[in-house]
Amino acid sequence: MIRLFLILLTIISSFSLPLHAQERKSEILIGLIPEENIFRQMDRYRPLGEYLTKRLNIKVRFTILSRYGDIIDRFKARGLDGAFFGAFTGVLAMERLGVEPLVRPVNLDGTSTAEGYIFVRSDSEIKSLKEMKGKTIAFVDRATATGYIFAIAFLKEHGIDNPHRYFREYYFTGSHDSALLSVLDGRADIGVAKSTIIKKRFKKEPFMEKEITIIARSVPLPDVTLCLSKGIDPSLREKIKKILLEMDRDPEGRIVLQKLEASRFISSSKEDFIPVYNLIKKAGIDLKTYRYR
């Protein structure tokens, strides 16, 4: 009975949330961009929320920012205090929302960056850029550095100024996995996607690795980075940062990190995003006017 009442309360309060978000700082709401099965993702992050809640004495909650619509607008509309952004969305949020990077998790294999891959099927005729003319290419999304922008920069660097005319067809799959599968299934000749997601998939289905040949890679780009909104009180900001950076020295924190599938958090700053800015420049994209939806 109590739970039913709570459900009712949640439904009612969720409608009025954007209105009150500004006034109360009794809660910190952090957005997650879906990267895998969202229930699994939530299960990974939930312990982190509980840990921070306990340490900060302020309720810390995560919410899934479904990709539907515009992430920047969603950030504003939901009144978020921060989010785990990707390389490109991070830059976009810094430019348009003024968020500041705080920390990023280090994966269990020691990496905290991701690369963009351009890949084909291993039995494809395509061995290099010059055989790509007139073929079909699958990108991930206009708003990803590893799944689109890096490839455009790469093509421009090699003298292909109008990539969309160079190929017979190009399309956006909406997810990194989907770009990989498009190539595996023979629905596209060439695919562009993020290294971490591809490696994760290879680990799960080892046979895939033989089916795919990587033609080009980007420089390492910052992967998932926690950025906080400017509106957050600087002392609170430092407190959060300190807790996260010292988590791996606390036995309880280590358990939370283990659930998150990370080894620790490291500090992050705007400088980490310089390679992303470079790529954007090479691709000829103007961040002020770029329409990614």
């Binding site: 009975m1 879906p34 539907y68 509309a77 939901r78 909406g174 997810s175 329409r291």
Partner: protein, 641 residues
């Protein structure tokens, strides 16, 4: 001779002890069975929880992707709850069939989660999103169905358990009976053999033995000489007496057990409430007592349920209970201790007190009075203890059943409230939804404009432009609807003649009606003018007629009927169109619910509903698939201010 006697008596004793052991064992089994039955009732609550979580997620599936998505959090939360419910179930069920079903449920839940996750995160194209939505909804329904099936199986199990418990009780009766008769016959046989072997020496005992054989237990033989046979005769007499005593005790015990069983019968008919009088009557018989009072806790007082004249304060009774070390039953031979002064008045004769407990809390007591034969003995006390347990369990059962009923009722009510609240909330959410609805066509327009700019093939450009045109019209339609919706604030009340109004509306729609080859039947009744907003009402009926035309594409009959009712006037708009399937009928008034695919915005009926509601009226709808639909608008003559 002595040895033989001792042996035969030992056999008898062993048989008797075995009988008692069997009885105790069966009573223990029966109580355990009852506990299982009770725990099975609890499962029902977990299942209800599961169903509610699934239903909540399902209800959000229809709106996901149309709003800014705080429902994603709600879905994630409820799916986690769902997960937990299933895990809880996995932890305790053991029946093979149920376990398989649970495995099914857990598999479906995994698929459901995958589909939901993909639905929430997919951006690629609308067709794929719809595919996922459809499959997610189907999986959700399968999930609900499986849960219902499981409930069915659990019910069956409950039934089987109850049945087997009753069977156990019956078995214990039969076994007791057999044990006792066997003891008797063996005793008889032993006696006969014993007699046969000592024919000569015990000639004098023959007659007595015959009598004994005839069943007159307890008969004694007189033997004048003081020799071994005297001893024998005395031993024989002893045996005869013991036999009689044992036999009597056995008979008494059988009777008691059967009475005990009879007490339990009314106790099992839980759902009907307890037949207290029957219970009291049987308990009286059980202890061969004069009177039995059933006293139950009612609002901090213990009251006699039949006479009402007796009531004791709760504290007093509890003190007494504690005084006797929480024994399940006690015998008060003289006056009770002074801690219960209220009891002093009623206790004048030997009294047997049997406590009734509910979850370690005292909830009643049975008072059994007996004037004759020096009161109660230890056997009575043991039986009373068993009785205390059985009655306590069945009272608990009864309470659990009532609780369950009340909880189910409450659940149903809360569910209804939830649906109502969700509907209200959706209505409130409309503004942001419309903004978002607008975003859809605009996104397409921008997308296709970009595509056209890059395109050189004139046919493709034309095709893109066509889509842009369609999308723009859709946007315009939404804006118009929105304006109409917004205009609602400036309501202008005047006298409205609904017959005239309907004629105006039909005039507006006449071209379309003609085009779709629809004949109109107008049956206007003599109705008074009502107070209302002319334009808004017009909009309502125009919307209803438009829906009717849509339903009758290709021809049909549109019937307009007006008339007076006791509390106002009614207008029927009836078509002979394809009708509304019963599963979507309850949803047609929800905002953005539409069956017209590209054409409708899904706002028409919900706005109509609001307008009529604001006039203090209501809309009723009756529909039969492939026969037609009838909307009845009922309006009061004077709307509430």
């Amino acid at each position: 001779m002595k040895r033989r006697l001792i042996i035969s008596l030992a056999i008898l004793f062993l048989l008797f002890t075995a009988g008692v052991g069997v009885t105790v064992f069966y009573i223990y089994t029966v109580t355990k069975e009852l506990e299982t039955v009770i725990s099975l009732h609890r499962v029902e609550i977990i299942r209800q929880n599961l169903v509610i979580n699934a239903q909540t997620v399902q209800s959000h599936l229809y709106t996901i992707g149309t709003a800014f998505g705080s429902e994603v959090d709600v879905i994630v939360e409820h799916v986690s709850d769902l997960d937990r419910s299933v895990q809880t179930c996995m932890g305790c069920h053991h029946s093979e069939e149920l376990r398989a079903k649970l495995q099914d449920l857990s598999n479906i839940l995994e698929q459901y989660k995958d589909a939901l996750s993909a639905l929430i995160t997919t951006t690629a194209n609308i067709e794929r999103i719809e595919r996922l939505r459809l499959v997610a909804i189907n999986l959700g329904n399968t999930l609900l169905n499986t849960a219902q099936e499981m409930a069915f199986i659990a019910d069956q199990r409950l039934y089987a358990k109850t049945k087997s418990a009753l069977k156990e009780i019956n078995n214990s009766r039969i076994i007791l009976f057999i044990t006792l008769s066997l003891a008797f016959f063996i005793a008889l046989t032993v006696a006969v053999i014993f007699t046969g072997q000592t024919t000569k020496s015990v000639a004098t005992l023959i007659n007595t033995t015959r009598e004994l054989k005839a069943g007159r237990l307890g008969i004694t033989a007189s033997y004048p000489y003081k020799d071994e046979f005297r001893e024998l005769a005395e031993a024989f007499n002893d045996m005869s007496r013991t036999l009689k005593k044992n036999h009597d005790e056995l008979l008494l015990f059988t009777k008691r057990l059967s009475d005990l069983y009879r007490v339990t019968i009314p106790l099992y008919s839980l759902s009907e409430g307890l037949a207290y009088d029957d219970v009291a009557e049987i308990i009286k018989e059980l202890f061969d007592a004069d009177r039995c009072r059933i006293i139950l806790l009612d609002n901090s007082h213990f009251r006699d349920i039949s006479s009402k004249e007796l009531h004791l304060h709760e504290k007093e009774v509890e003190a007494l209970y504690l005084y006797y070390n929480k024994e399940p039953a006690i015998i008060i031979k003289e006056t009770p201790p002074s801690i219960a002064p209220g009891l002093l008045d009623i206790v004048q004769e030997p009294l047997l007190l049997i406590w009734i407990k509910q979850q370690d809390r005292l909830s009643g007591l049975l008072m059994v009075y007996k004037k004759r034969q020096g009161g109660f003995n230890d056997t009575d006390l043991r039986i009373a203890a068993i009785l205390s347990n059985i009655i306590s369990v069945s009272f608990m059962n009864l309470k659990l059943m009532e609780d369950l009923k009340a909880q189910m009722k409450e659940l149903k009510e809360t569910q209804e409230q939830l649906i109502q609240a969700a509907k209200l909330a959706a209505l409130g959410e409309m503004a942001s939804n419309i903004a978002h609805e607008l975003n859809n066509p605009l996104t397409s327009i921008i997308g296709f404009s970009e595509l056209s700019l890059e395109e050189t093939d004139i046919d493709t450009i034309k095709r893109d432009l066509k889509i842009i045109e369609q999308e723009s019209l859709r946007a315009k339609e939404i804006v118009n609807q929105l304006l109409e919706f917004a205009r609602k604030r400036s309501i202008q009340i005047s006298d409205v003649n609904l017959n005239m109004l309907m004629k105006e509306v039909l005039q507006l729609a006449s071209l379309q009606l003609k085009h779709e080859n629809i004949t109109i039947e107008e049956r206007y009744g003599d109705i008074p003018t009502i107070k209302g907003d002319h334009n808004q009402l017009k909009q309502v009926f125009l919307n209803l007629i438009n829906n009717a035309i849509f339903a009758m594409a290709g021809g049909g009959v549109l019937t307009i009927r007006t008339g007076k009712m006791d509390d106002g006037v009614y207008v029927d708009v009836e078509d002979t169109g394809h009708g509304i399937p019963p599963d979507i009928l309850p949803r047609i008034f929800e905002p953005f619910f539409t069956t017209k695919k590209e054409k409708g915005t899904g706002l028409g009926l919900s706005i109509s509903y609001r307008i009529i509601e604001s006039h203090g009226g209501r809309i009723e709808v009756k529909s039969e698939v492939n026969k037609g639909t009838r909307f009845t608008v009922i309006l009061p003559i004077n709307p509430p201010s």
